[in-house]
């Protein structure tokens, strides 16, 4: 074999190797052990690392909003559990105020319903709501498709990942779902203690808090997600200015008045303020809210009426200590979920 043939074979071999290596970069989604199967339809949107990176770039890009001023990340910041920290009510373009506090994003592949009122039934479709909502991004889908088509970066990226020259809303929302479906939080102290990792154990106070949690909270905030797809009243009265009736807005059923999503308590330490309209700013005051409820209120969830939350001052501190064990800093600072652009 002469030297030129040898060089050609080496070059050819390295090209194949490089191509293969590029193909095997894993999508960040995984199935945690002992968790149920996800509800997300992966067959309709098979995991693809390049689509994940496209979705990640779109998540952080204000190109999705009418005046290119806000992105998904404007209201869903990673280091605050992808919630809108420090704002009671999330705001859209031009400072427009909506009615609700943007909830945290985690473990979405296991949710059946989305938004505080459960009005959206799958993760793909979820993104259309904030993009088009007049108080959020206020971006018409047809205009957005033209904008993405005109962008050399995005038109090339959609061509590369979806093989399309005609970007449609389903391409956009599938790319975004490739990113949001990967936001898995299961590396908190609670998870590690449960798995027996790193020799970690709960403190005595955390153990007491866990016991209280199991007694008073877990029937709605169900592990391992510390959430549920149920819609409940936790006794918050109507805000007479916002007039947000929650689930009833979707079903038209008066029995659903003032019912709201049971949100996840994972990373709750960092996702303040709390409740659907952010009306409680401190976690200790959320716990106090439950101890001060009028349990004769017939609209209250049956779980609360059946088992009123009675906690001493010290028990409230114990419960707070346990809730802080649900903080997952691996998730909050995961490099794979940080700001990124399409290269």
């Amino acid at each position: 074999m002469n030297s030129s043939s040898f060089l050609f074979i080496c070059f050819f071999g390295f090209s194949i190797l490089a191509f293969t290596l590029k193909k095997v970069i894993p999508h960040p989604f995984y199935q945690p052990k002992e968790w149920p199967k996800p509800t997300y339809n992966f067959k309709g949107n098979p995991l693809d690392y390049e689509k994940f990176e496209l979705g990640r770039a779109l998540f952080y890009d204000p190109i999705l909003s009418l005046d290119s001023s806000i992105s998904c990340a404007s209201c869903h910041l990673q280091f605050t559990a992808f919630a809108h920290v420090d704002h009671k009510i999330s705001h859209g373009i031009e400072g427009r105020i909506g009615k609700r506090n943007a909830p945290g994003l985690a473990n979405l592949a296991w949710r059946k319903l989305f938004h505080w009122d459960g009005g959206v039934l799958n993760l793909n479709a979820q993104a259309i709501n904030p993009i088009t909502h007049v108080d959020e991004m206020d971006m018409a889908l047809d205009s957005l498709m033209h904008r993405l088509d005109r962008s050399p970066i995005y038109s090339a990226a959609f061509k590369r990942t979806f093989g399309t020259d005609d970007i449609r809303p389903f391409h956009l929302v599938k790319a975004l779902a490739q990113f949001t479906v990967a936001l898995i939080s299961e590396n908190s102290k609670y998870d590690k203690v449960k798995r027996g990792e790193d020799g970690l154990e709960f403190t005595d106070q955390e153990k007491k808090g866990l016991s209280l949690f199991n007694n008073f909270c877990s029937s709605c905030h169900k592990p391992p997600f510390f959430a549920s797809d149920d819609y409940k009243s936790n006794g918050l009265p109507i805000d007479t200015e916002l007039l947000d009736f929650g689930r009833m807005t979707i079903t038209g059923n008066k029995r659903d008045s003032l019912l709201f999503m049971v949100p996840t308590l994972r990373n709750i330490e960092y996702s303040f303020p709390y409740m659907h309209d952010g009306r409680i700013s401190k976690l200790k005051d959320v716990i106090k809210h439950y101890t001060l409820l009028d349990y004769s209120n017939p609209l209250l969830s049956k779980e609360l009426r059946k088992n009123p939350v009675k906690l001493s001052e010290n028990e409230q501190k114990d419960l707070l200590a346990f809730l802080k064990t649900l903080t997952d800093k691996t998730f909050l600072f995961d490099e794979r979920f940080k700001y990124s652009i399409i290269k």
């Binding site: 339809n41 309709g44 009005g119 959206v120 799958n122 909502h133 809303p169 389903f170 807005t249 038209g252």
Partner: protein, 218 residues
């Protein structure tokens, strides 16, 4: 006389080619409806239409001889402003069938499927982002009967949850390839524009108007 000639002409064309596509023809006063054309209601109010979009699904054709049912469960999007949506089922020999039943709108499984491609594309203007689901029938326009400054009416009829499930089963005889949708009948018998001119979400009024749709097709 003109009307009779028009219908005779359509039937004649059909008899020459019985393999024709199934076509939807909205009508007013027995003539094909035109967008932006000003018509008169039976109460002598002016009325014009700017938008007419409809979803059809779950077609069941009944064979003339055997009575066997041929089902085609696909979602069809109709837009009066886009002639490419007016006819469908190119490969079907319609002369074999005596009648067709279909759903005007989408059943609950289609509403919650999460499908956003082709006929389900949100760009078609029939998708409700705030409350996952689709509008079955969108009719918009203006009428002097509407007691507002703009005189505009907007009917976004949809919803699949009890008690306001709005999809309707409709059956028509297949005398030719055309299915006629009589909007004059809909607006004279089912819609009072003076009282009701704005429906944008699943509700009792959407349900009641939708219930009257089956008699408007022939």
């Amino acid at each position: 006389m003109k009307v009779s000639f028009y219908l005779f002409f359509l039937s004649f064309v059909y008899s020459l080619n019985c393999y024709g596509q199934l076509s939807i023809i909205p009508t007013w006063n027995k003539k094909p409806l035109e967008l932006q054309h000003v018509y008169l209601t039976q109460n002598k109010d002016s009325i014009s239409f700017s938008t007419l979009k409809i979803y059809f699904s779950d077609f069941r054709f009944k064979d003339k001889i055997s009575g066997r049912i041929t089902s085609i469960d696909t979602l069809i999007f109709y837009d009066l402003s886009d002639s490419s949506t007016h006819s469908f089922f190119n490969d079907l020999n319609l002369s074999n069938y005596e009648s067709v039943a279909f759903t005007l709108g989408l059943d609950s499984s289609k509403n919650v499927s999460g499908e956003l491609e082709n006929a389900y594309d949100p760009l078609l203007g029939m998708y409700w982002a705030w409350n996952t689901g689709y509008i079955n029938l969108k009719i918009m326009g203006e009428s002097s009967a509407v007691p507002t400054n703009s005189h505009e009416f907007e009917f976004h009829l949809g919803g699949y949850r009890f008690p306001f499930a709005t999809a309707q089963t409709i059956q028509v005889d297949l005398n030719d390839q055309y299915i006629y949708f009589d909007l004059e009948k809909l607006f004279s018998e089912n819609i009072n524009l003076t009282k009701n001119h704005h429906i944008m979400l699943p509700c009792k009024d959407a349900f009641l108007i939708s219930q009257g749709l089956s008699t408007c097709f022939k």
